[in-house]
């Protein structure tokens, strides 16, 4: 008989702080557990669902397609988990490599010419700001969206993996098949470029 919490019917949430002290190890533990028992994949799924979906949403033409593809990615990951070896490749990079391949594959199958339908129009409302600030920020974001639209697909992908999916440079390097140094350099240049453009626009605004 399982105890339940009112909010989400979650089991007893107490945790061992020793485990919290090493989240990377905890993730590895989860991965190892999931290799033995698919049910243990659940926390990994919950944790990575949003980052993977966001990344795929930027590469898909619709919410539905991104949702479909997200499910496929996790299924593929689950199927391939027994073959996953953590040495040298973080789980996140491994998972996003699958996501990336799935996106490429989906485009091939669909023969789609839409490569990136990134950055949906709807923006989060900005709370605790006055209407004027909100308008300014909206304008800033619109401008930034335009700047991003002018970037090449490769560059947008780096930004998506960093900002939409929260991957670190080494993880991104593993996903896109480049060296860590190359990714860091590209990201730094990219940010510098955006900062410059952004400053101009911001100052204009």
């Amino acid at each position: 008989m399982e105890p339940y919490r009112k909010s989400q019917l979650q089991p007893f949430p107490l945790q061992n702080l020793a485990k919290e002290a090493a989240p990377a190890n905890e993730e590895l533990d989860l991965v190892q557990a999931a290799r033995r028992d698919p049910a243990a994949f659940e926390p990994l799924y919950s944790y990575y669902l949003s980052p993977v979906y966001r990344y795929l949403r930027l590469r898909c033409g619709s919410d539905e397609e991104a949702a479909d593809l997200t499910q496929q990615v996790f299924l593929r990951a689950l199927a391939a988990l027994p073959d996953y070896r953590p040495q040298g490749l973080p789980f996140s990079a491994w998972l996003f490599r699958i996501a990336r391949n799935a996106a490429i594959d989906a485009h091939r199958r669909q023969r789609s010419t839409v490569a990136w339908n990134f950055l949906p129009e709807a923006l989060h409302p900005i709370s605790s700001q006055d209407p004027e600030s909100m308008t300014l920020q909206q304008e800033r974001l619109e401008n930034l969206r335009d700047l991003l639209a002018k970037l090449s697909q490769d560059k947008r992908e780096l930004l998506a993996l960093r900002f939409a999916s929260g991957l670190t440079a080494p993880e991104i390097a593993a996903v896109v098949g480049k060296s860590e140094a190359a990714v860091k350099k590209q990201l730094t240049r990219l940010i510098a470029h955006l900062k410059e453009q952004y400053r101009e626009q911001f100052n204009d605004a």
Binding site: A21, P23, S50, A67, L75, S128, R162, T168
Partner: protein, 792 residues
């Protein structure tokens, strides 16, 4: 709510020390733009179960190595096509052969019921899947418990369902047993509806070997064998198996089901072989052989033929049971609706809707794909995802949901076929993920084409009195005044309320009988009663335990809702901090609700007088059980609000007002108080960070305490159940510092009597994701506090 981690920390690799607020704002804007998209709710809630089912289909169910027989090799596909037509597949010889394989590998699908389909030795699809069994720790506990019994039985097997499926709660309990060749088979429970027949059994045999049903079948009064449902859940010593009754008594059109004349199902369950396996030579810690191999009285020859650990052989038996079971309704419909897509016609031939699940049969003008996807929307409900099996002539989709209440409205079924890499690419890459960029894959691009979608819009005639389920079983009514405890499972020996306490942070209240037993009742409607049964207060918490009882309270069909509050009538009011509950036991469902003891200063230091109000709850629709989905539904009987005046004795606490300040790297942290109670230790910390001139942030960046180490007299206490909660407090305009508060709790009643030097050490992680690097390189601190706590 905690604010996001500071962008300066989060994007430290993209910012340098010269980066100003503008660069941080750029980071924030980029993050905002890139994180706008959120996965649809159904992906989080429903697709998870779909994912589990996918895992089952992929053969990823947990199988204990010690029990793993030689499985036929799986090609790792979603669905495997039988090499024979369905009709042929159901011939006696094939069924018998496949059943041997199927039964030999009866396994305790620890988190699934995955088992080879009798009609298809390679298939691991699970049509007619019952409600998802328990998973994770709960399942492990159940398994351990079953293993520790000399011989697990049907009752033990059922514990894996936190919510008993309909084929357990309905149907008929039996206790029929027969013995043959040293094996005794006892039929424990039978159930039938339009979808399936389920049979639960115990099997006992000679010591020294492990055994399960080898060759078995279910036949109708004419001797016609019924199709295996592809569902089986088994353990050595017990099992549940299922059959479809599409051809019962030759009524392939289900006319007796439709017109309500099928009231009882009469079948014969026959077992002709028992599969036996040798115990491993060296018992594993979790497997306890009951004696040495070869000691069985009547099967010495068969046992002697075993080639070694995990090899198996068959022992002939003659066990035949004539079973009669009540028919629990359902309906059969033949939409015969055709849809065209991809130059192919797919026809929805048949739909069976029943309390134990819903099945659909599709036929096609050409052979169907081995992998497909389908989505059903029944009326206004959420999309549902099936299990399934494919055959050359037809595809069978099976939904676990009871959709009887959804009949009468429009249903939409979307079916499409795919041969996508990753799922269906084992033709050239084995079990690896397809790398579609490889030349090998490029050559096979044709395989990526998909078929469909074929969409069917149809209406199932509404359920009538003729095909309604039987009335729900009469709920258990406890003897008035008697405390009913669970007889098995995690809560064995506990009442529902006792178990709710025992499994919560407030375990000590149950274990040590803390607080005060009370009995304050309120009838919230003619059939439901709320009773406050235990109250507890210390310097950290006020805890209230109550039960809900009455007609219809069974299993987990009640959930507390809303937010209860406590007030002392002097202007102090707090909302509940949390609550916990378990399933009803003996018609009573127990709930523990707790509040922070924030500012309730008793006039009489030994007791608190508080007003508890806004206790609310919701009884889900009668006959259904609580799930995360129904828990969020607004339907069902609302309960409350109910209010009580409580007088609660205050348990003495050990309080140390410390106000110790430690500054590391310019960051000041104050340990304000340590409060030790019979429940555990709670430490109150406060962090101060100076405001940045010209910045407008109102909150301290997230405070990632990692690691947190507690010791007493030099002894490391890491491992005690613990929790850290971080709060931020908006500063007033005059304050020059941002504040963050952390409450760190260690729940161990044994701490209360401990004396000596306590030590708390923690660091602040800058990037928790990068914790694999040396802690010191990725964190600041440590802050260390040494303190003592006086006796109360």
């Amino acid at each position: 709510m905690m604010p996001e981690k500071s962008n300066r920390y989060k994007y430290a690799d993209l910012l340098d020390k010269n980066s100003g607020p503008e660069a941080e704002r750029l980071m924030a804007d980029l993050e905002k733009l890139f994180t706008t998209a959120e996965p649809p709710t159904y992906l989080a809630e429903l697709q998870l179960s779909s994912l589990r089912e996918g895992a089952e289909k992929l053969g990823l169910s947990k199988i204990e190595p010690a029990r793993l027989p030689q499985l036929p090799s799986s090609n790792g596909r979603f669905f495997s096509r039988p090499r024979f037509s369905l009709a042929k597949a159901l011939t006696l010889s094939l069924v018998a052969a496949a059943l041997v394989v199927a039964t030999v590998i009866i396994l305790l699908a620890l988190n699934s019921d995955a088992q080879p389909s009798p009609a298809n030795g390679n298939s691991i699809a699970t049509p007619n899947k019952p409600p998802t069994p328990a998973t994770g720790d709960k399942m492990d506990a159940i398994i351990a418990e079953c293993k520790n019994k000399a011989l697990p039985d049907y009752d033990c097997l059922l514990k894996m369902y936190s919510t008993p499926p309909v084929w357990v709660t309905q149907g008929r309990d039996l206790n029929l047993n027969q013995t043959s060749n040293g094996f005794t088979l006892t039929i424990r429970h039978v159930y039938a509806d339009a979808n399936a027949i389920f049979i639960g059994y115990d099997l006992k045999g000679p010591a020294g070997v492990r055994y399960s049903l080898g060759d078995f079948s279910l036949s109708d009064s004419s001797g016609q064998k019924l199709n295996p449902a592809g569902f089986g859940l088994g353990y050595e010593g017990a099992g549940i198996t299922g059959f479809n009754l599409d051809n019962l008594d030759g009524d392939t059109k289900g006319q007796r089901i439709q017109n309500g004349t099928l009231k009882e199902v009469k079948v014969r369950f026959g077992v002709s072989q028992i599969s036996i396996r040798e115990n491993p030579p060296t018992p594993t810690p979790d497997l306890k052989p009951t004696s040495t191999p070869g000691s069985g009285p009547k099967n010495a020859v068969a046992i002697a033929s075993l080639a070694g650990p995990n090899s198996f052989t068959m022992v002939p038996v003659a066990l035949n049971f004539d079973l009669t079971m009540p028919f629990n309704g359902g309906l059969v419909s033949f939409p015969a609706q055709a849809a065209n897509a991809s130059n192919r016609t797919v026809t929805l031939q048949k739909v069976i809707v029943a309390p134990s699940g819903t099945r659909m049969l599709l036929s096609s003008t050409d052979s169907t794909s081995m992998s497909f996807r389908a989505t059903l929307t029944a009326g206004s409900g959420p999309p549902l995802f099936p299990n399934g099996r494919t055959y050359p002539e037809q595809t069978e989709l099976s939904f676990t949901e009871n959709l009887m209440a959804k009949t009468g409205g429009e249903w939409v079924l979307t079916y499409s076929e795919e041969k996508q890499p990753g799922i269906d690419c084992s033709y050239n890459t084995g079990s690896k993920i397809c790398q579609v960029e490889t030349p090998e894959d490029a050559k096979n691009n044709a395989r990526y084409t998909s078929g469909g979608p074929w969409t069917f819009r149809f209406t199932i005639p509404p359920v009538t009195a003729a095909n309604s389920p039987l009335p729900a079983s009469v709920p258990f009514t406890p003897t008035p005044g008697a405390e009913v405890t669970a007889t098995s499972g995690k809560c064995a020996g506990y009442t529902s309320l006792g178990c709710a306490f025992w499994t919560s942070e407030f375990k000590a209240i149950q274990d040590k009988g803390l607080g005060q037993k009370v009995s304050l009742s309120a009838a919230v409607n003619p059939s439901l009663n709320l009773n406050i049964e235990r109250v507890y207060a210390d310097a950290n918490y006020v805890v209230v335990g109550y039960t809900v009882s009455g007609q219809g309270i069974t299993g987990l069909n009640f959930i507390p809702s809303g937010t209860a509050t406590l007030n002392d009538g002097k202007g102090n009011q707090v909302a509940e901090t949390g609550s916990q509950f378990v399933e009803a036991i003996g018609g009573k469902l127990g709930v523990v609700v707790w509040f922070k003891n924030a500012g309730f200063k008793p006039d009489n230091p030994k007791e608190l007088k508080l007003h508890l109000e806004d206790l609310r709850g919701q009884l889900v629709t009668p006959g259904s059980q609580l799930t995360p989905t129904t828990a969020k539904a607004s339907t069902g009987l609302q309960f409350g609000p109910v209010a009580f005046d409580l007088t609660i004795p205050v348990t003495a606490s050990r309080i140390a007002v410390l106000n110790q300040e430690v500054t590391v790297g310019g960051v000041k942290v104050k340990l304000e108080q340590a409060i030790l109670t019979p429940v555990g230790l709670k430490l109150y910390l406060r962090k101060y960070v100076a405001k940045t001139p010209g910045r407008t942030e109102a909150y301290l960046p997230n405070w990632n305490l990692n690691p947190i180490l507690l010791s007493l007299n030099g002894k490391d206490l890491t491992g005690i159940p613990s929790r850290a909660q971080i709060y931020n407090t908006p500063p007033s305009a005059q304050q020059q510092e941002l504040e963050g508060v952390a409450e760190i709790e260690f729940f161990d009643p044994s701490l209360f009597t401990q004396q000596g030097q306590w030590s708390l050490l923690f660091r602040e992680a800058l990037d928790p994701k990068a914790a694999s690097t040396p802690v010191s390189a990725n964190s600041t601190g440590p802050w260390t506090f040494n303190f003592t706590i006086p006796q109360s």
